[in-house]
């Protein structure tokens, strides 16, 4: 068992710094404000027993989404969990889109960010049916869509099956971002947004995605092969992307595939943009020693 009294060498590595602390408070400390006011109300004979309505009862602590840049705040735990599970669990690290399920995320990555897929799709049926358990594959996105509509009775405008091609008709950086807006790490308001998984919207810098030529794809693949393994492929994809994009450099991004392959635990991918401004409005009464 790892004991709490570790060697000094290990201790210096530990980011955990809690030690029990004694706090001595001077008479003007903030913590004493309410009590002092109450005391002086009594001295000035303004004291009254039934003043409950005037007191500020402590509020329930808020829950906040931890993902940097998402400033959503909730007063009820279930709401927070719903938000988190809906928006942050299956996020594509390449384009930051949030998908509703692990499977759809996999499919998305494969179809959008996997150059090997692009190559193979030219000669094989690669587009899987989105319905779990169906197993059928199709040569084109359209074929799949037809299948979904006819066999599985999906609506023709199913959100999570937009094609990449539709994108070409739009400029990059259009206001549609709000409509499709999956950018859970957008730094504006904290309201929940609608999420499109395999949507056609791809913002600035990713237009190269649509232009991945066979040649480039082959280069990527070669680079990946050289780097070795899944990780290499993802890394290659990432570096390729970042060379061209205006997006800020990701500070914490894990490839979902890599994580999946290794540990079987779904890891989030997020880009860290700007610091989220605040996560709480509660005071910090005691910080450090004083």
């Amino acid at each position: 068992m790892i004991s709490l009294t570790e060697t000094t060498e290990e201790q210096s590595e530990l980011p955990f710094k809690f030690v029990p602390q004694l706090f001595h408070l001077h008479k003007d400390h903030d913590l004493f404000e309410d009590g002092d006011v109450h005391r002086h109300m009594y001295l000035q004979d303004l004291y009254c027993v039934s003043e409950a309505e005037d007191k500020s009862t402590p509020s329930i602590s808020q829950f906040a989404c931890h993902i940097s840049g998402c400033s959503a705040v909730f007063s009820v735990l279930e709401e927070y969990e719903h938000h988190y599970n809906s928006l942050h669990r299956h996020v594509c690290c390449s384009c930051r889109r949030s998908l509703p399920s692990a499977r759809l995320l996999d499919v998305h990555i494969q179809e959008w960010h996997d150059s090997l897929f692009t190559i193979l799709a030219q000669t094989q049926d690669m587009y899987q049916c989105l319905v779990e358990g169906c197993g059928q594959k199709f040569r084109t996105n359209k074929d799949r869509k037809d299948h979904l509509v006819m066999i599985h009775k999906y609506p023709p405008d199913f959100r999570f099956d937009k094609t990449k091609k539709d994108r070409r008709t739009h400029e990059t950086k259009k206001p549609q971002q709000i409509e499709t807006a999956m950018e859970v790490v957008d730094d504006t308001c904290g309201s929940e947004r609608v999420h499109d998984g395999l949507s056609d919207q791809q913002e600035r810098g990713e237009s190269m995605e649509t232009h991945v030529s066979e040649e480039e794809a082959a280069q990527n693949y070669a680079a990946a092969a050289a780097a070795g393994g899944d990780a290499g492929l993802s890394a290659a994809l990432h570096s390729n992307k970042h060379a061209n994009s205006e997006m800020p450099k990701p500070q914490y991004s894990y490839s979902v595939r890599t994580a999946c392959a290794k540990t079987g635990i779904r890891v989030l991918c997020c880009f860290r943009l700007e610091q989220s401004t605040e996560h709480s409005n509660s005071k910090i009464w005691f910080s450090g020693s004083f």
Binding site: L4, P15, H24, L43, A64, H66, V73, Y252, K283
Partner: protein, 503 residues
């Protein structure tokens, strides 16, 4: 049983308003007091009324009365008592007070009557001074300086009512002017208060007045340098302690004043000596007894508040090895948790202060940490972790104190469901809460391998994964460490297993 004597101090002019008006007025005044507190200008005065005084709103032409009354007083005669009595009533009016001090030789006349052979005149004269001391105009107090040496002298007298009036007059004069305060200190107010308290300790009305006056001195801005050291070396602290237990018949008021004095003293960093006088023992015993049914009586929080603060600050001076002798009964933890629950919704600030005291109590003492578990107080504490405004961070700190002590306590905490609670607190908006939660989680995790399993089972891992992407570096570091070293490596590599098994 514990009556709060509110009849004695009526706020003048309050009689004829409706309850709604009163409530509004009270709220306004509370706002004003709060602002004054933030400006560090919070002072109060007290006006002692005669039993036969009518509380009226009338302010008759006080100014004219003052001038004419003064004129009449300058003529000797048997009517002087009446005139003085009238003058004291007239001086309730603020503008009359200003008029008075502007009149030439007015104070000189008053002092001569204060020190004359006619004792009724003395009484009325001191009442005049008392009204003047209660003035809202700060330039009135310096005008009363000629009277102060006599007021101090009279503190060693035996007349209760007279002494009370002197005391409250002095107490009112103190905050208005530094000049007055310096003079009083030079004239020996502190020894005078000490001997007054000594001689009159069975007279609770006087004790209350001494307490009030002393508290006015102790709240002064430079009290730490000029006043507190002198007070600490006098016999005042022990006298204050001896009056602390409320008298059933008289009520809470004297104990309240003395407790506040002790609080101001304990705030000073030089008050370590109070420990030797048994201050911690006395205050904590009293708190323990108030933690039961008595504590919920009307007005009791006016006493609980300064006691909590005394105990909290004195604990910070107390060496760990003498803690049990200084605090006495370990069941103080029960009382503190009772206060937490009782005041949470009615006086959240007081709940916060209770939590602070509990932190100081458990910080370095294994005995008190264990007591929390023995008396089954932890579940109640865990429920409070949901509340904000500083209460939950302090309570989490308390639980962290417990976890820090020994592994066996960690095991018990896990058994009580702390991991599940942490899964909620890790999602909170308050950064300090999350960071503390990570600290506690770490301590629990290293206490035993089954903790990791339980945490994983509770689906806690995604929470940590999310925290990895938080903008705060402190949180990220801790989350990453926990994930990499303890949580994510359990299934794959053998290295973690080695770590776990090696001691």
């Amino acid at each position: 049983m514990w009556r709060l004597n509110r009849v004695r101090y009526k706020h003048v002019g309050q009689s004829s308003k409706s309850s709604e008006e009163l409530r509004l007025k009270r709220r306004e005044q509370e706002k004003a007091l709060r602002q004054a507190r933030r400006d560090k200008q919070l002072v109060s005065k007290r006006l002692l009324l005669n039993e036969d005084d009518e509380v009226t709103m009338e302010t008759t032409s006080g100014e004219q009365d003052v001038v004419s009354l003064l004129y009449k007083l300058q003529q000797s005669g048997s009517e002087r008592e009446t005139h003085l009595k009238d003058l004291s009533k007239a001086l309730r009016d603020p503008s009359a007070q200003l008029t008075f001090i502007k009149q030439e030789n007015s104070m000189h006349l008053l002092v001569s009557l204060l020190t004359g052979s006619n004792t009724q005149c003395r009484l009325h004269a001191v009442r005049c001074l008392h009204e003047l001391s209660h003035s809202v105009h700060t330039n009135v107090a310096p005008a009363c300086l000629p009277a102060t040496p006599y007021l101090l002298t009279y503190l060693s007298g035996q007349s209760t009512k007279f002494t009370e009036l002197c005391l409250y007059t002095l107490g009112n004069l103190i905050p208005d002017s530094d000049v007055v305060k310096e003079k009083l200190l030079a004239q020996g107010i502190i020894p005078a208060l000490a001997s007054c308290m000594e001689n009159q300790r069975h007279n609770l009305a006087v004790v209350e007045a001494v307490g009030f006056t002393l508290s006015q001195l102790l709240q002064a801005k430079d009290a730490a340098e000029k006043i507190i050291p002198t007070v600490l070396t006098s016999c005042l602290p022990s006298q204050l302690l001896s009056v602390l237990t409320p008298d059933p018949k008289f009520g809470l008021a004297p104990a309240i004043e003395c407790a506040w004095c002790l609080h101001y003293l304990a705030c000073s960093k030089d008050s370590r000596g109070l420990l030797a006088q048994g201050a911690l023992l006395q205050c904590s015993s009293l708190l323990s007894s108030l933690g039961g049914a008595e504590g919920s009586k009307e007005g009791m929080e006016l006493l609980v508040c300064p006691l909590l603060r005394c105990v909290g600050n004195l604990l910070s001076f107390c060496p760990v090895d003498s803690l049990s002798s200084q605090v006495g009964d370990v069941r103080l933890v029960v009382a503190l948790c009772a206060f937490l629950q009782a005041y949470l919704h009615t006086q959240p600030a007081l709940a916060r202060e209770s939590a602070w005291v509990l932190n100081n109590l458990t910080a370095h003492s294994g005995e008190f940490c264990s007591a929390l578990l023995t008396f089954n107080l932890v579940p109640g504490l865990m429920q409070l972790l949901l509340f904000s405004q500083g209460i939950n961070t302090m309570i989490l700190r308390i639980l962290a104190n417990v976890a820090h002590k020994k592994k066996e306590l960690c095991v018990q905490l896990v058994h009580l469901g702390l991991l599940s609670t942490l899964c909620s607190t890790l999602k909170m908006a308050d950064q300090e809460m999350v960071t503390l939660s990570l600290e506690v989680l770490f301590m629990l995790v290293v206490s035993g391998p089954q903790v990791v399993d339980e945490f994983v089972r509770l689906n806690g891992v995604p929470l940590l994964e999310a925290i990895q992407y938080n903008s705060d570096g402190e949180m990220r570091q801790r989350a990453v460490y926990l994930l990499e070293r303890h949580l994510l490596s359990d299934s794959s590599s053998a290295c973690t297993v080695d770590n776990v098994s090696s001691s």
